[in-house]
Amino acid sequence: MNEITKDLMKQVTGLDELPKGAYNIREDSKSVARQSSENIKIVSKEDKSGIDIIVKPNTPSEHVYIPALVSCGGITDLVYNDFYIGENADVIVIAGCGVSTGDSCDGSQHNGIHRFFLAKNSHVRYVEKHIGVGEGTGKRVIDPETVVEQEEGSFMEMETTQIKGVDSTVRVTKAILKENAKLVIKEKLMTHGEQIAVSKFEVDMDGKNSSVNLISRSVARDNSKQTFISKITGNTQCMGHSECDAIIMDHGVVSAIPQITANSVDATLIHEAAIGKIAGDQMTKLMTLGLSEKEAEEKIIDGFLS
């Protein structure tokens, strides 16, 4: 692993070295290190690039790391990862990708297509960070697609973070929820420069008492543009909530496009969206505590995206 990759891995996963337990490290379109554990098996796909992550039923709380790292310009990486989570299993998936253009003027791109199949009463926490680095002038592009199918009583929490660095991203997340299944999505996003980010969510609540809570916090600076599309459909007694909260600065642009459809009188669906600049009284308050205007602005944004 070269220095750029090591640095990307640290930023994406917080790891300095290979972890204990199950992991798969992908570097420049190849799997460079892999380990399965007693409960979590990682195997290569035979028909295309990617892996299957198979978690045994009743696995007690266990981590699996699957970072994808692109360390130089001119690489376009496409990967398919499928997660099969057994009944009553409880796992934390540390995913995410780091793309670097190095000093090249060629772009780097990583497109990850993740599918999650959660069996009955399983529990998944999915943590994903997107990092873009490198001095090169090429574009850093990350286009992830996540598909989630949740069986009865399963729970999934997705935390996705992308703070600066990525020039273009189109994120698509789709989910289908059965009875008593719960999905929580927390998205944090900051764009700057000329960056473009699109987040599109499509959630179908098919099972009774299923629920989704989708929370997006974002900051658009400079001339960057963001679009947040949330499409939630309630087909039975269920609870859906989506919230888009955005701060715009400079010439940043944010669009929030909600679409909530209740196909049942027992479906309760709520969408909230708030887009605006930093409130003047927030700045004033922090300045009365001794912060400069710039420090106050940083604190407000750090807190907002924390």
Partner: protein
């Protein structure tokens, strides 16, 4: 400590909100400013903190002319300002705000001390976000805690009782009493509450942008409270307006 010289504030085309205020506040004093709504009290407090610029006059703090100084500069010189309506933040916790107030990174235990001072169970509040899930009384008490944490030469509170329930209010009086005895600095409290006025060393009554009465609580308070004819009393305008409404 603080000297205001011919301080005026006028909104163009509207009435004069402050009319040539002259006021000196000595070190170590607790001053209460009272009077009807719209009398200019909050504007005066905001001008001292630097949030609003006066249209005329000068402000001196510890002998220095600070009229042109910004909010941050004044805060660093030792002026604290507690908002009438505390500001809410997403993602910033009570602990974060106390850290910002002290300019240090305090341990949970150190920061909790200030929440306990204002009668909050620190364990329940130290990690709470300063967002709209906090009640008016809770956020007000945290606001006061940040001012205590700053421990500056001048602390200004704009209607600290607003939004506070009766139980908390009783505690609030003790907080100010203790603050007055513990710190060397001066305290200015803008208030309508008789019980807050009672803990002050000096009371200033403001009506229509002017100081109409100033003196020890013994000399000013009886006149404010024992009003024999509310209809002709400038201090009672608020009460009469409320009754009519």
């Amino acid at each position: 400590m603080l000297v205001l010289e011919n301080l005026s504030f006028e909104v163009e085309g509207e009435k004069e909100i402050l009319k040539a205020i002259n006021l000196t506040i000595d070190s170590g004093k607790l001053i209460a400013i009272t009077g009807p709504n719209g009398g200019g009290k909050s504007t005066l407090a905001r001008i001292i903190a630097g949030v609003v610029k006066p249209t005329k006059g000068k402000i001196f703090f510890k002998g220095q002319d600070i009229t042109a100084a910004g909010i941050t500069e004044r805060a660093k010189m030792g002026i604290s300002f507690g908002f009438q309506q505390p500001v809410r933040f997403k993602g910033i916790t009570a602990h974060d705000l106390i850290n910002i107030a002290t300019g240090k990174t305090l341990t949970v235990l150190e920061a909790s001390h200030y929440l306990s001072e204002v009668g909050l169970c620190a364990k329940d509040y130290i990690h709470r976000e300063m967002n709209d899930k906090l009640s008016g009384g809770e956020i007000k008490r945290i606001e006061i805690a940040t001012i205590l944490a700053r421990n500056t030469s001048l602390s200004i509170f704009d209607e600290p009782e607003a939004g506070i329930d009766l139980w908390s209010f009783n505690h609030l009086i003790d907080v100010f009493r203790k603050m007055h005895s513990d710190i060397d600095g001066s305290i200015i409290i803008i208030s309508h509450q008789e019980r807050i006025l009672e803990v002050a060393d000096e009371i200033i009554a403001m009506v229509n942008g002017e100081i109409v009465k100033q003196g020890s609580k013994e000399s000013v308070l009886p006149e404010l409270i024992n009003c024999s004819d509310p209809k002709n009393c400038m201090y009672c305008q608020d009460i009469l307006e409320e009754e009519e409404a």
